[in-house]
Each structure stands twice: as C-alpha cells, then as structure tokens.
C-alpha cells in the first residue's frame, strides 16, 4: 500500500485482527466440513468433537444412494448451461447498445436499466401467472427462461464494450468481416476480462438457483441441488451429519472455482469504475 513507513507493531496488529476475523468468518465452513465426516451418533455428542473421531464417507455416499442427488446435480448443471447462453445474449445486447447507432437506442437502454430498480417481489407473481398461462409451470423451460436476461449484466457489458476503439471495428468491416464474425472473433477476445467476471458470477448464480425452481417445479425430477437440500433438511431434520454432507457438496465446488478466479472478480469491479 501507499504509506511506506509502517511500524512493525501496526503490521502485527492488522494481521492478528485479520486472522481472528478470518477464523470467526470460517467457523460455519469448518464446522460443516468436519461434521460431514462424522457418523450420525457423533454429531449429536456433547461435548462435540472438533475433528471426527471415526471419520466416514457414509454421509456422502448416502446423498447419492438414498437421496436423488444425481438427479438434482443433473438439473443444476442444465440450468448452469443455459444461464451461459443467457450470458451470451446479455453480452450481445451490451455490444449492441455500446457500438451501434440506432433509432430509440437511449430509450430502450433506459428501459433495461429501469428493470433493475424493480424489486423481485413485484414481478414474481405475474411471471408465475404468465408461465402458468403458457403451460410452462413444472417444466425445465419455465425454470430457465425468466432468468436468462439480466439487466445488470447487460449494463456491465455495455460499459466495458464502449471502451473498445471504433477504428478497430471499422477496420475489420473494411476487410469485409461480417457483423457477427466481428463480434465473435474480434470483440469477444478483447472483452475477455468482463466475460471472466460475468462467467464466474453466472456460474455461481446458476449453481445456487433456488427460489424460482422451488416455485415452478412440482416434480422431484426437476429439483435443483438447493431445492433437494432443503427437502433433505425437512426429511432428515435430526441427521445433521447428512445435512452437512449435502451442504458441503453444494458449497465446496463454488469455493474451489472461486479461489481460482477470485482475482478477476476484484479486477472486474475496479474495471466497472465503481470508485
């Protein structure tokens, strides 16, 4: 950081505080991981054991044999896949707003921004009624469609793509490149950093999606991991070990992906000009 002369004592104080805070924040995670490897009797032991005395994988195996976690995982991955197609739509729209002059551009863009202001509770019921009219309740399409376009994502893509020089695009046009060729071959590689941020955020949102699948899906065959986990919580209310294994199965992949890509997220926010 900027201040060069830092007293050693101050340094240690900051590191100690950071360490203590970090431990406090991680307690739920540590407890989750540790309990997920305990047999059912040990999780209810008082005093609790910090590390499992008889570590076991049974809880994880149970998720896939006694519960339908394979189905939930498949559904969740389908949602994640389609939300990436949504991400592409958002990027295309961001590019359209950033790099083309057309009639009504400002007005349409303001409408897009306006949708960000509306609380989710306002649109939730009408969207459900609309899907009901279209016969899309209790279908995968009904779960996926409403979440594809994200106004905030369009906004961020537009902000980034405005900084791409027009000359570059013009030059490609003069060379005879088509508009879509330009977008996929020229613009997308330049916009890699913003795609990285949005990609991670899209993955996390898709992986975690809960409320909309819960509202739309009646059949267990359409449940996502989160809906399945909440079902498990209700069915096995006192089997905390199994619950912790289910939670760990949801949380750990996200943490791994995030720790690989975290630097992009911080850079992404710096880029979007929030200062």
């Amino acid at each position: 950081m900027a201040i060069k002369k830092k007293s050693k004592a101050g340094n240690y104080l900051v590191i100690t505080l950071m360490l203590l805070g970090g431990i406090a924040v991680s307690i739920p995670f540590i407890w989750m991981i540790s309990s997920s490897f305990k047999p059912e009797s040990e999780v209810l032991a008082i005093p609790p054991t910090i590390f499992p005395e008889n570590p076991t994988l049974d809880n994880y195996i149970n998720l896939f044999t006694n519960m339908n976690f394979t189905v939930y995982l498949r559904n969740t991955l389908i949602i994640v896949f389609f939300s990436f197609i949504g991400l592409l739509f958002n990027a295309m729209a961001g590019y359209g707003f950033a790099k083309y002059e057309f009639k009504g551009r400002e007005k349409v863009f303001y409408l897009v921004l306006a949708t960000m202001m509306i609380p989710g509770q306002v649109t939730m019921i009408p969207v459900y009624l609309l899907l009901n009219e279209m016969g899309l309740t209790n279908t995968m399409t009904g779960i996926i469609l409403p979440g594809l376009a994200v106004a905030f994502s369009i906004f961020l893509f537009r902000q980034f793509m405005t900084t791409i020089p027009n000359d570059l695009i013009e030059a490609a046009r003069l060379d005879g490149a088509g508009e879509f060729y330009i977008f996929f071959r020229l613009v997308m590689p330049i916009a890699k950093p913003i795609f990285a941020v949005q990609g991670i955020l899209t993955f996390i949102a898709g992986w975690n999606s809960f409320l909309w699948p819960l509202i739309i899906a009646n059949d267990e065959s359409l449940y996502t991991l989160s809906v399945g986990l909440s079902l498990l919580q209700g069915q096995y209310a006192n089997n905390f070990a199994l619950q912790m294994a289910g939670a760990a199965f949801m949380v750990v992949p996200i943490i791994i992906i995030f720790s690989f890509f975290q630097k992009y997220i911080v850079e992404g926010f710096t880029m979007s000009g929030i200062k």
Binding site: G21, P48, I118, A149, F210, A247, V251, I274
Partner: protein
C-alpha cells in the same frame, strides 16, 4: 419499400439486442404492468381458473393491508432488520477492506477469499449449517457459551433474539460483495495523495480520516444505497431459517408478499403489498440522494 430496405440494411443492432430485450420485456416489463393491474383486483386461485370471477375492487387491497396485523408486523420487522443490519454491514465491510488493503502479500489475497466466501455460499446450505450451529441442544454456539457458563440461548425460538440471529447471519453473508467494492475503490486512490499527506507529517489515523475516508465517499454512497435496497427486501434468511416465525416475529415485508402469493394464492393482495414495498424503496432511495446533495454542497 425504401423504409423496409433500410431496416434490412440496419438490422444488425436489433439482432444483437433482440434476444435479451425480448426476454426482459416478457419477464420484467410486462409483469410490472400485470402486477399493477391485478393489485386492484381480488385475483386468487379461483380467479385463475375462471377469469370471469375476477372483480375490480379499487384500492380495497391497499386499505386492507394497513389494517392487516401481520403486514404491520412485517413492516416493523423489516425496519428492525434495516436499522441494525445496514450499519453493521457497512462498518464491517469497510473495516475489512481497509485491513486487506494494508498489505499485498499472498496472505492478504488468501484472506480476501476467506471473507468473500460467505457471500457466494448457497442460501440453503447457509440455512442448513446455521440451523445446526443455532440448534438449542446440539448447536456449537450454545456449547461454546456453556463453557463460559452461559445458559442455553433460544437462538431462533424467541422473536427478538431470532431477529438478531437472522441479522448476524445476514451480515456474515453480506460483507463479501461490499468489501470488494470498497477494496476496488481503495486501490483506485492515487499513491501521491498518501505521499503528500505523509510529507505534511500526518499520522496514520489522520490519513485515514482526512484522506482515505473522504475519498471513499462515492463508494460508501453506492454501498449504502444498494445495501439499503437489498435489506428492505430482506427475504431469504427468514424464509429458509424460520419461515417468518415464531409468532410472525421474523416475517419481513418480502416474505409476507411471498406467503400471500404462493402459499395463500391471494395474488391481488400480494401484488398490492409488493407495490407498497416498491414505493417504500423509492422513497428511501430518494431521501438518500437528497442527503447526498446537501452533503456535497459545502
């Protein structure tokens, strides 16, 4: 004909924006209009099956809401969440960002990830883990307190304590994203400002209060507005942890709307509630912008 040709020639921008804009129109813009219309009707499950049974009842829904005890309770609870939760989130995310900005070693990068982790954790996983931690008999918290000879605390069974417990977990979950915003802002402060302050002989606290914090004004404003809007829609935590109980002690406005809509199928009534929430959010946001204006004038 020439007009048509022109459109064909200029079709590309529309082709780029069409998919996303169409989806937003169908699933965001049109629903707002629908919500507004049905908030003046008695639409419920019966009306859904037979449209002719729906009647316009004017502002009846809005009037009923203000004499509905559960709704009033949800407004009070939401205010409780906002007044305690928002300052805590801002305080912790700013303090942690300042600490993380203190060094550049690997250690600080690791801790940045640690503090960010809760905010990307799935809400159901959070409910499962914290439900276990908060468990009165087998939970870790009560065990740790028993070591200090404190009696068992009914974390989720007493209305006021339950509200505070939900705030604790929402703050834990809410720090990450705001911390990143503060961190990005801190990294955008030019070195020369600090060097100038140092040359003037300012000590570290003086630098913090006279250089760093004032320069974070915009970030603080942004974080305050978004956190406030987010907390006014406080929903997931009571929904997954307590379902609004005990005795509606943790029900928030957003949860009230959800329950009226999807549990009791009173779509018209719920839509009216959502517009009251929307109005509250707009008013509070406008007050924020007003306060900021008067703040920058001097």
């Amino acid at each position: 004909m020439s007009n048509f040709n022109k459109m064909i020639k200029n079709r590309h921008p529309y082709m780029f924006i069409a998919p996303a804009v169409l989806l937003l129109t169908v699933f965001s813009l049109i629903p707002i209009l629908i919500a507004f219309v049905i908030s003046f009707t008695d639409l419920n499950l019966k009306g859904l099956a037979d449209w002719s049974s729906i009647t316009f009842i004017g502002v009846e829904n809005y009037k009923d809401l203000f004499s509905d005890n559960t709704f009033i309770k949800s407004v009070f609870n939401t205010a409780f969440y906002v007044v305690i939760g928002v300052p805590l989130v801002i305080f912790f995310s700013l303090s942690i960002a300042l600490m993380l900005n203190y060094g550049t070693s690997k250690l600080f990068t690791v801790f940045r990830a640690v503090y960010y982790m809760p905010s990307i954790t799935n809400i159901i996983a959070v409910a499962v883990i914290w439900g276990y931690l908060y468990n009165t008999e087998y939970g870790l918290f009560n065990y740790l307190l028993s070591l200090l000879t404190v009696d068992n605390i009914p974390w989720l069974e007493e209305p006021t304590i339950a509200k505070l417990s939900l705030i604790l977990l929402a703050v834990w979950k809410g720090i990450g994203i705001n911390m990143i915003i503060f961190l990005a802002a801190l990294q955008g402060i030019p070195r020369s400002y600090y060097e100038a302050a140092e040359m003037d002989g300012a000590n570290r606290l003086q630098v913090l209060f006279n250089v760093t914090l004032p320069l974070l004004r915009y970030a603080t404003f942004f974080v305050t507005i978004t956190t406030l809007i987010g907390w006014m829609q406080f929903f997931e935590e009571p929904f997954v942890m307590t379902d609004g109980g005990p005795l509606d002690g943790t029900i928030s406005i957003a949860l009230f709307i959800y329950k009226e809509g999807f549990q009791f199928s009173e779509f018209g009534y719920a839509a009216a509630g959502s517009f009251i929430l929307f109005a509250m959010i707009i008013i509070v946001t406008m007050i924020q912008f007003k306060l900021r204006k008067s703040d920058t004038e001097y």
